[in-house]
Symmetry: C2
């Protein structure tokens, strides 16, 4: 069956995110006050799997082996 998995990868809590700080600063210069800003990457992958649990497991392996760096990233997987 075909599944769409959505993988969200973000920096672990407490990791410095200089990109987010730079964006917050640029927004401030444009007059936008923000209290907090975090960034994340989103991958939407369409794949073939026998069931939803297998699709999730495949996505987990993709994260561990390529998409995420387990030292600095947390990831979340949704299967549709």
């Amino acid at each position: 069956m075909k599944y769409t998995v959505t993988i969200t990868i973000r920096l672990k809590e407490g990791m410095l995110n200089p990109e987010a700080r730079a964006i917050q600063h640029a927004l401030k210069n444009l007059g936008f006050q923000t209290e907090d800003l975090t960034t994340a990457r989103l991958f939407r992958i369409r794949l073939d799997a026998p069931d939803a649990a297998a699709a999730r497991e495949t996505a987990r392996q993709m994260c561990d082996r390529l998409l995420a760096n387990p030292v600095i990233h947390d990831y979340a997987i949704e299967v549709e």
Copy 2:
């Protein structure tokens, strides 16, 4: 009131996404067959606004003025 807006920015339908193709190729080399893969950027911004509609409008302006390139990007805004 404090709101959290989640902004998802992706390339418009039909735009070439060489990064996604490279990731798909790398996944294939690791033995993962994928049918389609798209990437997006996600910003979660905490801000002060009089109501949810105002928070959404502020997020829209942030996209138009800094975060997204209207020529190549679509964006979606969720307010919590």
